[in-house]
Every structure is written in C-alpha cells, then in structure tokens.
Symmetry: C2
C-alpha cells in the first residue's frame, strides 16, 4: 500500500511507494560529458570574472590574481542586480518590482576536476565560512529579506559550469515556503514552548531508521516525507534559527558531515547530479519571530523528473521510502584520507 506522508512543518504531502522501493541500482545514470573549453573559474583566469567580493588567499597575494583557495565573485550573468528600488509597483492588477538582488558565485576550489566531497575537510570548512561571511555581509543591505545559498551539481541539476562552485542570491522578499515554515514554527513554539524541529530530531534519533549519519553537532537524516529518492537533510542538533549564526566548532562538524553525506550519495548512486540548498531564517525581519526558525541544509539528488503532477499540485511521488534510502546510505562506507569515515557503527553512539 502506498502512503501519503506530510512534511512535519509545511502543508506538503508526498506519496511514498512503500511496496517496491527503488534501490540505487534502479536509477540508470548515463555518464555525463565534461563541457570542455576554457574555464572562467580556474586559477589564472581571474580576469574572466567580475572582481572578487571575498577570497581566502595566500598572505600578500594581490586580489583577482592566483593565490586563493576559495573565491567569491558576482555572477557574470546575474539574474538580479544590486541597483534599483525594492518597492512594489502596480500595473493594473499586476505587481512588479525592480530586479534588485545579489547573485554571487562561490568558487569552491582551484581544482577544476575535484568535486566538493573529494576536497579535504579544511577546504570544505573554508567553503562553509565563505557562505557564512557572505550571508552576514549581504544582509547589511536592509532591502534584502532572504538569502538563498545553493549548489547545483551536474547538468541535470542545472549546473552550467563543471568547476565546483555554489551560488548565493539575496532577495527583496521572503519566499512563500520560508514564510509558511516560519509561521508554523513560531505558532508551534508559542503553543507548546518547544521547537518542532528540535522535537523531530529527538524522535528521529530514537527511531533511528531514517538516520543517515551524525556527529556531535549535526544530524543527517532522510526526512519522513522525502520528496525525492535519497533526499538528505543535515540539521544542527541544537536550536539555531539562522545559518549565519554557525560557530567555528559547528563549521567543522558541518564540513565533516556534508563531505560524508555527499560522498555516500555519490558512491551509492554512481556520481549523481544533485541540488544542495540551505533553508534558513529570513533576515531583517521581526527578531522575535525569526528566532523560532531552525535552519538546515537539504541535498536533493536528481534521479526522477518532476512532471505535471508535481508542477500542478506541489506534491511529489517518491519511489524510494526514506527508511530504505537511509539504510542504503548508512551501509555505504566512504573512505577519506586513507581512513574510513562515518561507518555505520559510529552512528550508533549518537542515537
């Protein structure tokens, strides 16, 4: 019997095919062709991008020259522009606004061919610090109400460049899905005195069957109402509304778990395209409200095609039960730096 499952926060239902769940080998992924040609994100090509807004680089190396290991630049073809006014105007019944916003590219490494999960942990920490530093800087512009950090890996996930990179966009409005989530989390907290996500973490650690991996500061799990096969969320175990608040000890924990989870997904599925998004509190809004958010990082492998049903309803049909996905990912042992990371047994000590 298939099952309808509801996201614990949003009014978003998913059909889970519980009977004949699709395993990793059921998803045929043709090998992706490399795009070739000159790469504007490679070292030595700094002049091919707009001037950098942040870089972690060798002391005394000049900006916009080699010597960096993480570099953030405005998108050369930005969807949004910094100039303009954030106010809505009416055109009859229609609403319109200048296309204000920031659109930046985080170059995650100088190594064109080494994906994020194959970087060493120090490098991944630096990428996370770049995300954090940019989100803290961008919100100083009070026109912006939400900052979306995301990564598209592989052509079917929308990546137009092979070089490992992520993107940051700041928006002059709060996306509906984030506002709805904040409303429901704030409502739950006011009614019960507790955070719904914190409660969910306790329940998941107790039930264990959807836990993918864990460490002292973060939990990786296949969410109960997973939209797509092998969807995985990485959630801070303590209540923290805003990704921008991440501390140095948490940066290390997030780097280690992100590397392990993406490593497991790529190994189990054989180089899967995926989207990674950070789901976090709005900025420049009501602090009393925003403190009820609980940020997390979402990884959605792109193995299925959202079609008329998904576009029409906003609901999803997922052929892989998250319990099965979590089991398969737990059993996938990734080896980093010569040692096996996140063995199944190690997860046990956190649950």
């Amino acid at each position: 019997m298939p099952e309808w499952r509801k996201d614990p926060i949003l009014d978003r239902w998913v059909v889970i095919a519980t009977e004949r769940g699709k395993r990793p080998t059921d998803f045929k992924l043709p090998p992706e062709e490399k795009k070739g040609g000159e790469c504007p994100l490679c070292q030595g090509h700094e002049w091919q991008t707009p001037p950098e807004v942040l870089s972690f680089r060798e002391q005394d190396s000049p900006r916009n020259k080699p010597g960096w290991w993480v570099r953030v630049v405005p998108n050369k073809f930005p969807a949004l522009r910094i100039e303009g006014r954030a106010g809505e105007r009416c055109l009859g019944l229609q609403r319109v606004m200048d296309g204000v916003g920031a659109h930046e590219v985080v170059v995650e490494t100088t190594d064109h061919n080494r994906p994020l999960e194959e970087q060493n942990e120090h490098q991944i920490r630096e990428v996370i610090r770049a995300w954090r530093d940019r989100t803290l800087d961008l919100r100083r512009d009070k026109r912006f109400r939400y900052i979306q950090i995301f990564k598209n890996h592989g052509g079917p996930a929308g990546a137009s460049l092979d070089h490992p990179h992520s993107q940051i966009m700041s928006l002059p409005m709060v996306p509906g899905v984030i506002r709805e989530k904040l409303q429901r989390l704030a409502g739950h907290a006011r009614a019960t005195g507790q955070c719904l996500v914190c409660g969910m973490i306790s329940q998941e650690l107790q039930e264990q069957n959807r836990v993918v991996d864990a460490n002292d500061s973060f939990l990786a799990l296949a969410p109960f109402a997973s939209r797509v096969p092998f969807e995985t969320w990485i959630i801070p175990r303590e209540h923290q509304p805003d990704f921008g608040q991440i501390r140095e000890d948490q940066v290390a924990g997030l780097a280690s778990l992100t590397r392990a989870v993406i490593g497991k997904i790529e190994l189990a599925l054989g180089s899967a395209p995926y989207n990674l998004m950070i789901n976090t509190s709005p900025v420049n809004g009501d602090q009393e409200d925003q403190k009820h958010f609980h940020w997390h990082l979402e990884i959605l492998p792109r193995l299925t095609t959202a079609a008329g049903f998904e576009l029409g309803t906003g609901f999803y049909i997922n052929p892989t039960p998250p319990e099965m996905a979590a089991h398969d990912l737990r059993e996938t042992a990734v080896v980093f730096d010569g040692r096996q990371a996140s063995k199944n047994e190690e997860v046990g000590k956190y649950v």
Copy 2:
C-alpha cells in the same frame, strides 16, 4: 534591468530577464529517441492495461477490445490506490495517511505517432470530454478533495510512454497552492464583488501584448509572471469555477484553442517537451467558497532546468519575457486540415 513580477493571485515571484530575452532558436533541443518496443496503449493491446473505466467506441464493439478512439484505464503502476481510509494518523510528530487516490490514464488516440495537436478537432473534443466525464465521476467519491488532470509530453517532461496520453489523479486533500489560490480569489471577490481572474482577462485583452490567441469562449495568454519561457494559459472568458462545468460549446472552443496553442509551441520551438495541467476548483468542499475559483489550463514547455534557486525558494528565473514569447507565438502560423488557423490578424477581433 531584470524585473521581479508577482503572480496576480499567488505569492509567487518570478525574475524576468527583460534585457537579452531568449528566443525560440536559443533553446537547443536534441531530437528525442523513440522508446520502441510493444506499446500497451495501442489498439489490439487492450489486454495489457487494467480494464477500461471509460471509452468512446464504435457502437456494439465490446469493451477492452479494439473499436475505441479514446480510452481511459487505471494506471497499471498506480502511485495511489482506491482502497484505504482518507484519515490522517499521527506517528509522533509525523502525519501519515493511507495512499488513497485514483490514478488513471487517458489514451488520446489509437495513432501511436500522432501527437495531440495533430489530431483533428473532433478527436481533441473527445479527449476533453473524457477528462470532464472522469472528473465528474471521480468526485462522487466523497473522500476526494482535488482532481488533477495533467499531460506529460516528451521524456524531459516526465513521459514514460510515447503513445499520446494524459493522466488523472484524485487526491484526498487540497494541494496548498490550490487552497491558497482559492482563499485569495474568495477574499478578493468578497472585498470587491469581482473575480480577480475576470479582471485580469479584461486587462490582458486591453493591453494585448501578452495575448497568444483567442476565440469566443477562451483566451490564450503568456501570463504576466510566466515561470518558464513560452508558458501559456488557456482561460475561459466567462467566470467558471470548475473544469467539470465545461459546456459543449466550450468544449469545442477549448479543443480548437488547445490545438492551436500546442501547434504554435511545437512549431516555434521544434517539438518541445511540455507539461499541461488543469488548475481548477477543489471538489466536495464548501460550495460558497469554491464558486470563487476560475479554472484554467496551463502549458509549461520544458526548456530550462529548475535548480537550487527554484527548489529552495519556489520562485523562478525566466529568461524569456512573456511579451516576447506571446509575440513569437502569435507570429507562428499553424496550418490545420489544409487551412491556416489562428492567424495573428484573427486574434485582433477578440481584443
């Protein structure tokens, strides 16, 4: 300058790239390989599907045998099942429900290789009548609250069979996007005494620049906040909440305009994959509320990839302004049955 545009009803924003808009020739569509093999939807293979729930067929021809021209069967691999209870159960903080629902396939023709827009108008009318008759029958089951009619054309749009077909799913809950739309339409109607969609139709007919085509009963337009290039909506010109209420004279108008619009899209873009969805009132709910809906049909060509930004925010980046898309589709003259249909000049008489 790019532009933020808001859907007139939903809180859904879209970034429209107004500067360097992408024209049809900018979308490179590789020719799609046919899937080959035995087709379970072809005439003579009726035994390969579950028994039909509706067919339009030659008088005295036996059910589940040849002699039909439109045939509706339950999906052989349904995402949902008719059996079960529609009530929510709690699993700690999680909500779950039996996977109840109907999932049917509308076989649109016996001709495996002739897509919908190449059928004659009588055949397309019969497809629309099959949609209508099934939605009226399915709602008799009071467990169902929404019926989603949709069509996936082409592999990139999620079609798994080449044979022209559409699908119908009935759901035990109202999708969030439909509930939000109904709330806003009902709120607007109570505040102003008018339907927001009816008002939008007047405005679009006056401004003309987003009108793709029109006839006495329907208007085809590129919506102001189009999510994807060449998105086109077909809207009944009179206020009609529910697709199930469509009259015979409207069936003819919808058939003619649907054929013209899909014909234009396929001709302009060179055989584009697309999703088609009917967006309509919930069923078995509050009649006083539901009467404020205004149903329409949406066609979304699949030329771009929804990626981390879209998945994270629910907003879209559209590289083709709808005014440009509407212009290009108006200029695309489709020839049916030896005569040119929906010439640009003919649209003029409706605006």
